[in-house]
Amino acid sequence: MKKAAIFKFFLCFIIILHSSCREPFEPDSIDFLDALVVESTITNELKKHEVKLSRTYALENFEPTYVNNANVRVEDSNNNLYSFSLISDGSYISDSAFQAISGVTYKLYITTQDGKEYESDSIELTPISDITNLYTEIVTKDNGETGIQIMVDNNNTNSSAQYFRYQYEETYKIIAPNWNLYEAVLTNFSVASNGDAVEFDSEFIERTQEEQICFITDKSFGILQTSTSDLNENSIEKFPIKFIQSNDGVLRDRYSILVKQFVQSIEAYTYYEIVNELGENQNILSQTQPGFVLGNVSSLNDTQEKVIGFFEVSSVSEKRVFFNYSDFNFPKPEFIFECNLIELDYSINATCGPCSPPIRNERAQIYRLLTTFEDDNLNYLITEIPQPLEGIWRLTNPECGDCTTLGTNIEPDFWED
């Protein structure tokens, strides 16, 4: 007992250092903070700008609640008023296109459905500084992973632009590996009384839309920032935007990335930096002091009310790059979805009695797999027309046969093959 307890102490001591000697703990009564969350960056692009409004949600929930039916507007110091309208949950788009101009200040006003008024600080457009180069390099990481590092250079000549935030949008082509021009349609079916045997006729019809080649666009996730304030030179070199492992399926059929660089003010940079830092995992020896991070939007009705988020007016610069896995002599990556190929027997012999070996008849399963697909309950689809029809049918998951289940079949305007 004694020995065990001492070992337990050491175990705990060491494990505490490894920060995993832990057990769940239910704090009594945490008052959930219900606060407005504002996210908006107006830029110097001439376009319809966006303001996103949501509310905080409880720790055990998974989805934010969106704030709809708010009155959202931006006013500049030249008394131009830009009104915004709700286009989807929590997303408001300006009614007309406009662009931020230097020397003018902008202010965001929000009136929520319950009549509460909010406003941001007056914000000026940040200095302009463009991305010089967006490029790729093959790198091998410490853990041995090889892949493509997408990087940005900015030979920044504008010394007042020192804080940068990046967003990107990846678009990649996908070719469904088990695509078939035809779809199987089952008709005239009858189900045996015991439910095991199913009889039906099958018909194969040509697909009416493009379902082989599609495009997927993923937006960046998280906060990506850098600053030149602690550098002697004001330029950014080899700033890593994204690393793609050499066997990542996104590289299988052509890949493209659009990188947007927002020049930030020191205040906006600091805000996002702290938010990001608090979101990172911490160990017991380097806990950062958590706390409420104050943004630049406040309530007009109640100065004590907490509002989350930052209204930014940033100059933006963007660049796009395309590449294929073959440009780097990587082997062809697997498809992004793991395809499940099923072979089922359509043979007529419905019943056989004590056959040895038993003759398979899996029409009931074929029926089940193919028809639930019809109910939008995407299950399986046929990958090739069986020859002969009475033989073995090959089915696959829709993701591998119909690319519209993963992406869009409309080629983006910017796409270059």
Binding site: T56, D142, T270, I274, L294
Partner: protein, 700 residues
């Protein structure tokens, strides 16, 4: 007999014999009611033999935390919070030299050898004028003097450590040597475990002390102490942490005449730590931090009259800090060598104090200290635009200073004054007013002090911390001073205490001032202590109600925390109840128990989630709005003395104790983890089960 002039007087003496009763001489018996010092706690090592211990270690600093007004952030936390002060506000002296990290194993054991430690005085309120440089307290630890007549020793063998101390006269009745050494065999225990992970971890320490005292003649005594402690532990298999303390002190006592005495003290202390990182990558490095201080101090005593006793003196201390150096640890490493500029400072002070006995009832202790600090070059300091947050864009210039050029000076008077008034011969009222200045700051991202925290000197952009405290106390002795009762209250204000912006990065940061905030603190409380010193049942019972708040206000949003209002400090634990009891059953058997209850410390909780930049983030409550669960713990112990035969090799006793008898799962820290989108709170605990321990102690 008084002789007023020359002359002769002849007399005869007759021989006679008389049997005297046993005479007991007790030193400092009534000190608690007699002296003018408020808020002082004295712990005598000899008196704590029977207290239940964890893992066999008798720990004087752990005992200190059972006294009202002295707290730690939790089990395994090093550093003390005295009367609502930060952990860096305690001047911890071992034989007059500052010991920067007085603990082993991240605070599980104190770094002081229990066999060589003589006594500990903790000054929580009226800090004598001779001490300075810290706001909240002085822990004055004195090593025992060696045995002047014969060779003797003491030792103990516990489950984690072994300890041996030896004392020997060098010149009989004149000089003696005491030496102590302690080491842990935890490294051996860890290596013998089956678990792969634990097998490769490291956790070990040792410490050693030598003290030599020599009485040269009736007027001159010199003593010197050397102390060294070392800790080594690994947190992950790829990093090894090492920290060590190194102290050397020399003291010369000289008596000019009956009225004038002097002490010359020369001390040097050094604290350093190292992180050796060795992964499998090209990022292997060696990180080091070091602080070194040398102090020369002169203290004079002048017994002017029965009414006036003066103490005066001066001191000067030179600090040298290496705030951080990182270097590649092998040829393949891509880590670049970087070393932050060294910091240098000179802290000097003069003081005078008068113990003024106005009447038999009223005693005044009036002290005045003037301290002066100069931050010295070589240094490069950023100059920031006034009224703007300190960040890279508000730097308007840089100033470079040559070697020993004065960068910035700070200073000020420190009043140390207190009184005692006897209401009755065994009942006194005491009060004090104190102000203190501290020129050195501890940087710590943790709520608890850790050995990898760094100390920083005040400079152009970092002001010294300042504090003022008033205390009032009532002291009553009963049963011929066997029972002591005290009730003390205090109110303390602090300013320019250090705090950090949210998400501050403190290590290897050459623009550290951009991460720091200097705010105000206030603390108040009442402390009650009942102590029974003798008898079959002895021990003490303490309770304190105390609060400690911090305020970080600024016209700038970024530098304001909790809307600029006062909020509870990390170590604000209002209720604190501790009792330590011993019961002597027979001459050989005694029981002991101690019980502690404390309010859980404040913590910042996540109170919601939101999405920004397509990513889920957590929104936190105001700082320290919530509390972790309360802390309580019961320990029991049994002491068995060896037989009382006269002829034996050594006197020995066994100590059997059970730590945390109730198996209470006291949280050490609480943290939050995102488990697949659900934020789950976790607590880490150190002692979740009762820990039994047997220690064998011997003495010869």
């Amino acid at each position: 007999m008084l002789v007023y002039g020359d002359g002769n007087l002849n007399f005869e003496v007759l021989e006679g014999a008389e049997q005297l009763d046993e005479i007991l001489i007790e030193a400092k018996k009534d000190d608690n009611i007699k002296t003018a010092v408020v808020g002082v706690t004295t712990i005598d090592m000899a008196g704590i033999k029977n207290i239940p211990v964890v893992l066999g270690e008798r720990d004087i600093l752990k005992i200190a935390t059972t006294m009202p007004g002295v707290k730690t952030a939790g089990e395994g936390a090093s550093g003390f919070n005295v009367r609502g002060g930060r952990t860096d506000q305690n001047l911890i002296l071992l034989d007059n030299a500052v010991i920067y990290s007085p603990s082993h194993f991240l605070g599980f054991f104190s770094a002081l050898n229990p066999f060589t430690t003589g006594s500990l005085d903790i000054y929580k309120a009226s800090i004598p004028a001779e001490y300075g440089g810290r706001l909240s307290s002085v822990f004055d630890i004195k090593t025992k003097d060696g045995n002047l007549t014969k060779f003797s020793g003491e030792g103990s063998i516990g489950p984690v450590t072994a300890n041996l101390s030896l004392e020997t006269p060098i010149v009989k009745e004149k000089s003696s040597l005491i030496l102590g050494g302690r080491a842990t065999y935890s490294g051996w225990i860890l290596r013998s475990l089956d678990d792969e992970n634990l097998k490769n971890s490291e956790a070990s320490f040792y410490d050693g002390i030598v003290k030599y005292k020599h009485k040269l003649n009736i007027n001159n005594t010199i003593q010197t102490s050397i102390y060294y402690s070392n800790d080594k532990f690994s947190i992950t298999s790829d990093s090894l942490y090492r920290y060590n303390n190194q102290l050397a002190s020399l003291k010369w006592d000289h008596e000019f005449n009956e009225k004038n005495k002097a002490e010359v003290i020369l001390v040097n202390s050094q604290y350093k730590y190292n992180i050796d990182y060795e992964g499998n990558s090209n990022r292997n490095f060696d990180f080091g931090y070091k602080i070194n201080e040398t102090q020369l101090k002169l203290n004079f005593d002048y017994f002017y009259s029965k009414k006036h006793k003066f103490k005066y003196g001066l001191s000067s201390k030179l600090y040298n800090v290496n705030p951080g150096t990182i270097e590649p640890s092998d040829l393949n490493s891509d880590v670049e060598y970087e070393s932050l500029d060294k910091e240098k400072g000179l802290e000097s002070a003069i003081y005078i104090a008068d113990l003024f006995e106005i009447t038999d009832r009223l005693l005044l202790d009036i002290g005045l200290r003037y301290s002066f600090y100069a931050s010295l070059g070589p240094a490069t300091q950023n100059i920031y635009q006034d009224g703007l947050p300190r960040n890279p864009s508000t730097i308007i210039g840089q100033e470079t200073y040559g070697n020993n050029a004065v960068v910035k000076t700070y200073g000020g008077p420190e009043i140390r004054t207190s009184f005692r008034y006897f209401l009755t011969p065994s009942f006194s009222l005491k009060g004090s007013y104190n102000n203190t200045i501290q020129y050195i700051h501890l940087l710590s991202n943790n709520t608890t002090e850790a050995p990898i925290d760094t100390w920083k000197l005040s400079d152009l952009n970092t002001k010294p911390q300042r504090a003022q405290q008033i205390s009032l106390g009532l002291y009553k002795n009963l049963d011929a001073s066997n029972i002591e009762l005290s009730l003390e209250g205090y109110y303390k204000k602090m300013k320019d205490i250090l705090d950090y912006k949210i998400g501050a990065d403190l290590i290897l940061n050459e623009n550290l001032e951009q991460e720091l905030l200097q705010g105000q603190g206030k603390a108040y409380g009442i402390e009650f202590l009942l102590k029974k010193k003798k008898g079959k049942l002895n021990g003490w019972l303490g309770y304190s109600y105390s609060r400690s708040f911090v305020k970080l206000d600024s016209p700038l949003d970024e530098e304001r925390v909790n809307n600029g209002d006062y909020f509870p400090a990390n170590y604000d634990k209002p209720h604190d109840f501790t009792t330590v009891l011993n019961y002597k059953l027979t001459h050989r058997f005694s029981f002991s128990a101690n019980f502690t209850y404390q309010t859980g410390r404040p913590i910042t909780f996540p109170i919601g989630k939101y999405v920004i930049a397509n990513e889920e983030q957590v929104v936190y409550s105001d700082r320290n709005q919530y509390r972790i669960p309360d802390y309580y713990r019961l320990d029991l112990g049994l002491n068995i003395e060896g037989n009382h035969k006269l002829q034996k090799l050594a006197h020995s006793f066994w100590n059997i104790s059970v730590f945390n008898v109730l198996g209470r799962n006291n949280p050490y820290s609480v943290f939050f983890v995102n488990d697949d989108g659900k934020i789950q709170a976790y607590q880490t605990s150190i002692f979740t089960v009762p820990i039994p321990t047997i220690t064998y102690n011997f003495k010869f």
